[in-house]
Symmetry: C2
Subunit: 489 residues, 2 copies
């Protein structure tokens, strides 16, 4: 109860940081821009990882692990990719420290241990992986190669925020190789669908599937597909990307295969990734001024049971019985028997941490054969008969999962606004926010100009956009479909 | 069948590298001393990780994630630890690359982007973690803190070998904080027991639990507990360590807590870890001249079913039925329907990859209601009735797991030799190898001298060693118990 959160309406950014801190998700570290992911935050990431990994394996992928370091000469081989990441690379130049003769007990970099070739700490692994694929791919029989990696990557960001933008982050990166362009594009779309399914059905976060404009494309890709979500402050967040890389990396690393006609051809590539950034999205889509709100499928504790008073017979036996019953159905349950804290304090704490369902069982309940169930999403409390409680709680977990999705979708849908003039564009952006659906002439110049004038970028060209004749809101040039603009994280 | 393995008797080291390569476990990379863990090798690591993680959580630990980088000033704070790792540290000195004006298309380290303080790529995380624990621990109520991390670490090794010694490797590192010395020591021993249980019951690898001599202790520890295994060439391998760190890190990072008497005290610490090195041990304990041999509990494929001829009715239906039946019992099954390869080739391939059970089903089998089951450990083949096959195979998997353990234990036990003179010591070491149980005077000088003369080190002082009066094999000074010497990986 002593923890206080800045209300969203007052300062959304402060609210976000308060949630991260008070819900025990992450902490700052001694390393500029790097966070510590605390056990509760990491448990959410473990649940995300497991749900994604299951989907990757179900679509035929396997995991592998490639080196953290990329020699500079490999890093620079695919020029566009190298250019895109060069400005934010951590570089290893030495491999030894030695005693600093002038400062007893202190160490210094040993100048004698300078590397012949500098090593880049991977900001992404295309270079090191495609350099390896050259040895793994000889013939069409070796294709497709469908590999994913769970790893840490480093991008030296100047302005950081926990989960949303950190110098080091955890992610998965899929890197696949295919015999044909069509197959590679199909893979790109398949993985976009996997991400959308995960976002909507696990994170309870509605997303729009689309394609990035050339300006927003991944460095080295021919096409970048993405899922875009809307946060409660009306800003968009790119939640996952799937890139069709064409033959760019195959050509940069000379990866060819012998086709069925006995001819050498360059391989086609995709890559796709999501990161711990998703935890930032999760926070900003569902949480409220009382703290974190978690969808049951990702909550480390789905149900917390608080005996009142603590650990006293027969209350504790009833708590144990219910917990055992729920666990036998795969529900993640915690019983809080901490005697040093009062139940009011505990209630506030579990609310802060976003536990979907809170059960309180008191002495009076035992007499009446009842218990009290509180749901985190609506904060409703209700008394139920003890006898049916396991089934009620399990149904409630499903209902909360669905309710969170519906609520987020309602907000998102209400914040896609069609505009037909640039004045309207600016007004909606400033007063309402959200996605702005507008005609655009398809040029990078116009996109850049709109960004300069409004800070809004093209989030995506939606895959399901209807053909519609119109004129660009800025240039007045003809356009065949609307695209989605927004300010973004 | 085209893949050939050097026999162990001819060149054990070449045999090891052949297994790593031909069983598709790992590959060299473009980065000095770093390997690529291939999908099949990584799948073994995933199984190890899951089995360990389950045990860590069952003993009350949670996972978290700390930064990859350690600022030099933190790294050097615990002096012994810093000294122990300084000579093998990868150091990040810059955070940006820029175009090299003299070499178009090439990049160079941007001298303007030099870090004020160098960052060490973690060789282990005590420093960064204990610097964080200072903020997390105020009172006895915050203790014990039981945290584990799954991560990559880097130690710049000059001579590397896949899995056994690589510059980058994957591992888990537990870091716990306790109110009392006794509790910290109990944790150290608990985690040693967890490792021993995992090694023996999952890896089927017998281990000896013991304590390291002062010379072999982890840098910064008060006591290092370890599990030691014996490889088929008679060399020992340290398979896991659990360190009692005393108050060394608490003092270096000023981590104190308020005890129940309202007094500030330094916290007590442990750390413990196992790494991808265990895959090297797994290979060397069980495999033979035909390839990898895997214990069923870790095998990515526990059973492979080969239809003969390929995918032809009714053979394939019978394969599918058996696979479904086995999978319903949680068995990992693969059906090989690749029509481009002959069954003889497939048999050799699965033997090479160490799949514990191979099932062949042919047309004749369908008529007879039989199938052929081959076990990898003994290479025995036998025909069984189709009707009982699922139960037979599951029982066989258990039997193979047990047989591998028994076989390894028999070898290990036969290679612990008691010696009572230094001549005997040298002779046994050169002719028979294995562990040598000998009296030692307890001094670092004697230990060092024995290492210089024989290359054998003290692997551990076994926890279950009996008190026995004797004299040191080298110095003749009195000794109260035998310790285990061996040449080691």
């Amino acid at each position: 109860m002593s923890k206080v959160i800045t209300p969203r309406a007052e300062d959304y950014s402060a609210w976000y940081l308060d949630i991260v801190k008070n819900a025990n998700l992450a902490d700052n570290s001694a390393v500029r821009g790097c966070m510590v992911i605390k056990p509760y935050g990491y448990a959410i990431w473990e649940n995300m990882r497991d749900a994604l990994d299951l989907r990757f394996k179900a679509t035929g992928h396997v995991n592998a692990y490639f080196p953290l370091f990329v020699p500079k000469s490999l890093f620079e081989a695919e020029e566009k990719n190298a250019e895109g990441f060069a400005k934010e690379c951590a570089v290893v130049t030495h491999y030894r420290l030695k005693n600093d003769a002038s400062r007893p007990g202190k160490l210094m970099v040993d100048p004698e241990a300078k590397l012949e070739e500098e090593l880049v700490v991977r900001p992404t692994s295309e270079a090191i992986i495609w350099n390896t694929y050259r040895d793994w791919i000889q013939s069409y029989r070796d294709l497709p190669l469908l590999i994913n990696q769970w790893a840490n990557v480093v991008r030296w960001e100047m302005r950081t925020r926990p989960f949303l933008r950190t110098a080091e982050f955890l992610w998965q990166e899929g890197h696949t190789a295919h015999a044909t362009k069509e197959e590679a594009i199909a893979e790109t779309v398949t993985m976009l669908d996997v991400y959308a399914d995960f976002a909507e059905n696990v994170m309870a976060m509605p997303v729009i599937k689309g394609v990035k404009s050339a300006n927003e494309r991944f460095a080295g890709a021919e096409d970048t597909y993405c899922i875009e979500a809307l946060m409660q402050d009306g800003k968009a967040l790119q939640a996952g990307t799937s890139h069709f890389l064409g033959q760019n990396f195959a050509k940069a690393f000379e990866v060819k295969y012998l086709n069925k006609d006995n001819q050498q051809e360059y391989v086609w590539a995709t890559s796709w990734g999501v990161s711990t950034r998703l935890i930032g999205a999760l926070i900003m889509v569902h949480s409220d001024d009382a703290g974190l709100v978690l969808p049951p499928k990702l909550a480390p504790m789905q149900v917390v049971i608080v005996p009142i008073p603590n650990a006293v017979s027969p209350v504790i036996e009833e708590c144990d019985r219910l917990a055992a019953e729920l666990r036998s159905h795969g529900v993640r349950v915690h019983i809080d028997t901490d005697e040093t804290k009062r139940s009011g304090f505990k209630f506030a704490e579990y609310e802060m941490r976003g536990v979907p369902v809170r059960v309180a069982i008191g002495k009076r309940d035992i007499e009446n054969g009842t218990l009290e169930i509180a749901r985190r999403d609506t904060k409703e409390k209700q008394t139920y008969p003890m006898a049916d409680s396991s089934g009620i709680i399990r149904a409630l977990l499903d209902e909360i999962q669905q309710n969170l999705y519906n609520r987020a979708k309602e907000y998102r849908d209400a914040h896609i606004t069609h505009v037909n003039s640039f004045d309207e564009f600016k007004e909606v952006l400033e007063t309402k926010g959200g996605f702005i659906s507008a005609h655009w002439d398809g040029t990078g110049e116009t996109e850049e100009r709109i960004k300069e004038l409004t800070k809004a970028t093209i989030r995506c060209i939606p895959l399901d956009a209807a053909n519609e004749d119109g004129v660009c809101v800025l240039s007045g040039a003809p356009s065949k479909q609307r695209v989605l603009f927004a300010k973004a994280y």
